[in-house]
């Protein structure tokens, strides 16, 4: 149990996906203009990360490792993640229209998100078991959601400030993210 908590905190705060590893920057900068959109996006990314890591964890531990073909992980994971997100979208669309409309375009948008592939490859790299893999994906997703909500709150306030014309939009957002990243370096000695 101790090691599971370590993995969870490690993926959420210390090795945060966006600020430490610089994965998943597309949705981080693209969807963080309003807090409501940011919450939806974070929830969708967490969902996809957990589902993807559970499926790929099974494949890694029970197919790739016994046959000693771990080098195939990248291509197989891409295939599996794409198919999985498509299946999840079909299920949600047919069973619960309200939820589908709430998530909107975000669900297909994160199929190619590098953070999702990153979580699965990190699980493979660290040789996590299935449960450890799922907990690490959960931590990564929650860390991503936390970051995108903080970023959108700061950006909403920044809209009212007097930014120089050439820095408006993406440039100032990158600088804000750099400050956040510096701040989160303080978590380095947490565990």
């Amino acid at each position: 149990m101790n090691s599971l908590l370590t993995i969870f905190l490690g993926m959420a705060l210390i090795n945060n996906f966006v600020l430490t590893k610089f994965l998943g920057l597309c949705p981080f900068f693209g969807v963080s203009k309003k807090i409501s959109n940011a919450v939806s996006m974070g929830a969708a990314v967490t969902l996809v990360m957990v589902i993807a890591s559970s499926a790929t964890g099974i494949i890694y531990n029970y197919i790739l490792v016994p046959y000693k073909v771990q080098f195939m992980d990248i291509i197989i994971y891409i295939l599996v993640i794409a198919a999985l997100v498509q299946i999840v979208e079909i299920i949600i669309r047919r069973t619960n229209i309200t939820l589908y409309n709430a998530l909107g375009i975000y669900l297909p948008l994160i199929t190619t998100n590098c953070a999702v592939l990153g979580v699965t490859l990190i699980n493979a790299q660290n040789n996590f078991t299935l449960v450890e893999g799922i907990i690490s994906a959960l931590g990564g997703g929650i860390g991503f959601t936390l970051m995108i909500i903080i970023m959108s709150a700061i950006r909403e306030k920044n809209e009212l400030a007097d930014t120089p014309r050439s820095m408006r939009g993406l440039p100032i957002a990158f600088i804000i993210a750099a400050f956040l990243s510096l701040a989160f370096m303080g978590f380095n000695g947490l565990l």
Binding site: Y67, M72, I76, A83, I87, N101, G104, L160, A161, D162
Partner: protein
């Protein structure tokens, strides 16, 4: 060598079968969704939210359930585009009278009101309005910072630098009404698109008749416009003490426009 190929092909085939199975076993799309997709093909897809629905697809769903939603929550972009309008009329079996429904936004301020000081706060009309009721001497004037500009989906509003107010371009405006909700002083109004006259002053307090104290360029209540007008297009509102234009008849009154001493009454569309 064969093992990796076999594993990759097997996983690929399993993924394909899984998608096919999911597609077949789950209940099919509800029929209303198909109609909503057809309707949303005729909508602009801007997702501006002016209709009151959260996005164009939600509007299409509302329309597919009840076609009269178009009259209670009108999409002004559709109203201006003939292709979309006729397509929508065909799919929903509606008859839409375009000229009766089109509206344009007008900001009720003639500008040039004096300021009581330099404003260095948050760059938003809402914030400026909360401090001492704004930084202009007239409490009903346009502050000119531009909250309305930020919400306009058509980019129809611009700041007039000489007069220091925001002005709506009647050609680009489609009357969606987002700016009306956004203005903290509530001085933006919707007028019919074929209106002949507009009145550019929003001073409302009946007791506090300003004369020339608050603003040199607003209405001074001389009532010349009402006296000179022959066809009853303008009448005097006794409660608010401002002239009231009758938009239902839409008659023009060039004599009143010329007679107004502060040029607050103008012909619409306002010439640039």
């Amino acid at each position: 060598m064969w093992i990796p190929i076999a594993i990759l092909s097997a996983i690929g085939v399993i993924c394909g079968i899984a998608i096919w199975v999911t597609n077949r076993t789950l209940p099919p799309e509800p029929a209303s969704l198909k109609k909503a997709e057809e309707v949303s093909g005729k909508l602009p897809g801007m997702n501006c939210g002016a209709c009151g629905f959260p996005g164009c697809f939600a509007y299409a769903q509302g329309l597919s359930k009840d076609k009269n939603v178009f009259f209670s929550n009108t999409c002004s972009t559709v109203l201006q585009d003939q292709n979309m309008l006729s397509g929508l009329e065909k799919i929903l079996n509606l008859t839409i009278d375009k000229s009766a429904m089109e509206k344009k936004a007008v900001i009720g301020c003639n500008g040039n009101s004096e300021t009581i000081g330099l404003y260095l706060g948050i760059g938003s009309c809402k914030s400026a309005n909360k401090i001492l009721k704004g930084f202009k001497t007239c409490p009903y004037g346009c502050l000119g910072i531009g909250d309305c500009i930020k919400v306009c989906p058509q980019n129809a509003i611009k700041i007039n630098i000489d007069k220091k107010i925001a002005v709506v371009d009647p050609e680009k405006c489609n009357g969606c009404g987002l700016c009306v909700k956004e203005c903290p002083r509530k001085i933006i109004k919707l007028v019919p698109a074929d209106a002949e006259l507009v009145f550019l002053c929003s001073y409302e307090s009946a007791k506090d008749i300003p004369g020339r104290e608050k603003c040199d360029f607003g209405c001074i209540r001389c009532r010349k416009c009402v006296k000179v007008c022959e066809n009853n297009a303008i009448s005097w509102d006794r409660e608010k003490l401002i002239p009231e234009i009758d938009y239902s008849t839409n008659l023009e009154c060039d004599a009143s426009v010329k007679a107004c001493p502060t040029k607050v009454l103008k012909k619409y569309p306002v010439a640039k």
